[in-house]
Every structure is written in structure tokens, then in C-alpha cells.
Subunit: 225 residues, 2 copies
DNA sequence: GCAAAAGTGTTAGGTATACACCCATGC
DNA sequence: GCATGGGTGTATACCTAACACTTTTGC
């Protein structure tokens, strides 16, 4: 391995993905087992792997997540590229890290063996520099909630305003006033009422909302100068 | 070249840098000559080059900019990593693109042969995917002006409020009311009055200001929900 | 004294925040 | 009928946006 890496004279390129999902009242991240002695024995790490000569980073992300892990429907975007020389103690590997999001139902469908969902607050030491990548992703996600409609990829097609608020509260780690939250979200024009109602709940049924548009876009909240 | 690239089985890693400077009333970008027939003959392109096995991307950026170009003092940060398969028609090269900023006086010091400053609005077709990288950088810079103090790296140590406003107006491509701009900037606490005055101007001399702190940081402008 | 840019306050409209009660459903 | 979460309005404070004249210097 080491011989080969000095021969090829260039760093390898890998993709890593921090896939988040919100359920059971917590932000979860998808982890896989890493077992590469002597440096990384029976540890957790982020899913990912090498990018081949014939695929882009996006294609590599899809290939690695759909393979052993069985994750097919996810939103993801590039996060940051990590190039510290010894970030992988075995070889020189540059990691193009990505931030991914899936809904709860998609999360529940990942192959049993492929990966598992761990609450972000309970993640211990990860292999490589994956704790640093995870921290970067958490901050990015919390930031993007405020000025994009990225939250759409954490919720099902139809959802209640309370469900939406819970996702914001969990990721932002703060609570919001229900009335003010609704006013604010509705004023953004990123969701609309389906005029359908929840059924089978032991309380007054909530209205179901859906996201307008189809893409992740910025919402002009930042006032100009 | 092509033979080698198929042998090594992994994409090469390069860094490219979009270095901006504001002077003569326009946003300028630093370009170099690219002459790599048959695909790229006598074109302009962004400065950059391969990253070696023994350096990080940041170190590669510094090496490429300080070498032929003679640019030593600049701020830069990672922008985005471009991985399209044919972004370089000769070989598979992944580019970690960076956004750099220099003051006018630093810009004037670049080696004659190494590079030249071109107003962004007058940039024509660039080699590789460098137009796409440039566009990404322009948008990032305009966005970051609004919620960080990144502008500090485009101005000298001491500057007038009008100079600061001009930089904002040029990059944001909009004009601001002088009184409101001053109130807003001063309320951000990113600059302070040096109590020195301009000298030698044919009008009332302006106060000179300087940036507080030393790092690029986010300014809490985004209201919570 | 004139040309050029610096510097300075107020008002009106809109947005953010804080806060408490009634409603609809399942059991 | 009771437990549970759904749904709604107002008043205040703050921030944003629009706008015009006087001051200081060099020539």
C-alpha cells in the first residue's frame, strides 16, 4: 500500500458523506464500521470511499451510498475538501466531504449491515479526521436552515407545522415560539397548505403542509446594507 | 501524458485560485497565460497547479502564487472542488478551487510576467472550466460581504468610510445611502476610528478607520427564527 | 470663492418579540 | 370529560429606508 502510494506521486481522491436524518427527537448521522489495522481498529467512520477515474465526486457519493449501505434517495451537496497530509495515517488521501440529508422513512430503509444511525450527540471518536468533518457538517446544516429551504429534505412530502418546528429546534438547539415560528415560515413562501388533515391522532388534527418549488434555494433573509 | 494518467488510476489533484482585488473602480481578477495545445492555446486562466504528495492544499496555493506570480501576502479560503471528468481535456484533474483577496498595493506588486489583473466584467473565455470557477467565486465574495468582515482583506490597514463603501458597491453592484451605510457598518463593530485624518486631498479630509480584530469572522446579522 | 468630498438626524414603515387562551380529536 | 397537541392576535421595541444640507480642505 505505502509503496504504491509513493509510486503514484499524487494523492488519492476519496469522497466522504455526512448523512443526517432527524427522528426520535434527535439529529442522527449515518456511520459505518471501519476496521483497518493497525491505525483504525473496530471504529466508526463516515461512509465513503475512493473516487474512480471515470466518475465525478457526485457519482462516487451515489455509488458508495447505494452499494453496501442501500441508500438511494438522498439530497447531498459538497461540504469541504480535507487535505491534511496525515488525515489518513495509511496513505495520502484527499477527501471531498459531502453533506447529505434523508427523511426518516428513507433512513429506516438502510441495509442492516451497511450502516447505523447514531445521535450526533452520542458519536464518539471516529476514524481518520471524521470527527472534524462531522463538526463541519453540523455547523453547515445549522447555518443553512436559516437562509435556505434545505430542511425540505429532512421531512416527508406532507408534514405538520409542529413537525417542521421540531426539526428546526433539534438542529438549531433552541426553542421557538409557536406563533412566531409559523408567521416567519409562512412569510418565507417556502411551504403551502395542502388543505389535508392529519388522521388518527389523539388530539386535534393538524393541517398538512408541503414545500413549494422543488430545489434547494436561498431565501432572501439577509438585509442589504 | 495520457498513458501515465491511465496507469496511475487516480485523478490528479490541483489547486486553482481566484484572486480578487478592487482598484480603479472595478473588481479585478488575477489571470495567467495558458498555452497547452491542442486544447488550450494562448488563453487566459486562473493561477494554480498540481498539489504534491507532501503539501496540503493551502501549502500548494501559497507555493503556486508565490512562485512565478510573486504574490506573497494574501488571504484565501477554500471555495469549491470541481471534479467534472473533462474539465481538463488532457488529463483527469480534480481542482480544489480557492478564493483569494489582496489589497490594491499588494496587487500592484505582482511580477510583470507572472500574471495580470483583468476587470471581472472584461474576462473572456478562460481555459479549462475556469469561467465556472470564477463565477462561483464572484457569487461567494458578494455573499460573504454581507455576513462576514472579509472585506478587510481588500483594503489597506487604514481607510476611509467612502473607500469601504465603494468596495461594497463595486462588488455588490448596487449603491448605498451614505448615512445608512455608515450607521450599519459602525453598528457591526468591525471597524474603529483611528482619529487620524487623510492628508493632501482637495476636499475636506476624511477620518481614517481600521478593522478591529484580526480574523475573518461571521457577523450575526441573520435573525433567528 | 469655488469645486469636491466629508459628515451628520429624523421620520415612517416594517419586522421581530413576547405573551395566553380556546379548539378538535381519541379514548 | 379529560388529556393532548393545534391553532390563533396584539402591543411594543427595534431596525430599515428614505431623504438634504452644512463643513472642510486645496486651488
Amino acid at each position: 500500500m505505502n509503496k504504491q502510494s509513493t509510486e503514484i506521486q499524487t494523492a488519492r481522491v476519496a469522497v466522504d458523506t455526512v448523512v443526517f436524518s432527524v427522528f426520535d427527537g434527535a439529529l442522527h448521522v449515518l456511520l459505518i464500521s471501519v476496521n483497518r489495522p493497525p491505525h483504525y481498529k473496530n471504529m466508526n467512520g463516515l461512509p465513503g470511499g475512493l473516487m474512480t477515474m471515470k466518475e465525478t465526486s457526485d457519482e462516487a457519493v451515489r455509488r458508495h451510498l447505494s452499494g453496501k449501505i442501500g441508500l438511494f434517495h438522498l439530497y447531498f451537496e459538497q461540504l469541504y475538501t480535507f487535505t491534511a497530509i496525515h488525515r489518513d495515517k495509511r496513505n495520502r488521501v484527499v477527501a471531498i466531504a459531502h453533506l447529505g440529508l434523508v427523511t426518516e422513512s428513507e433512513a429506516k430503509g438502510v441495509a442492516r449491515e451497511g450502516g447505523r444511525w447514531v445521535p450526533v450527540l452520542e458519536v464518539g471518536q471516529l476514524a481518520y479526521d471524521h470527527n472534524e468533518i462531522l463538526n463541519t457538517a453540523v455547523l453547515r446544516l445549522a447555518g443553512k436552515l436559516l437562509y435556505t429551504n434545505i430542511v425540505r429534505h429532512l421531512l416527508p412530502k406532507k408534514f405538520t407545522l409542529t413537525e417542521l418546528q421540531k426539526v428546526y429546534e433539534i438542529i438549531r438547539n433552541e426553542t421557538f415560539d409557536k406563533r412566531n415560528f409559523r408567521k416567519k415560515i409562512l412569510s418565507m413562501n417556502i411551504i403551502k397548505d395542502t388543505h389535508e388533515m392529519q388522521t388518527g391522532v389523539a388530539n386535534r388534527p393538524a393541517s398538512l403542509f408541503t414545500f413549494t418549488g422543488t430545489k434547494v434555494t436561498e431565501i432572501p433573509l439577509i438585509s442589504s446594507i
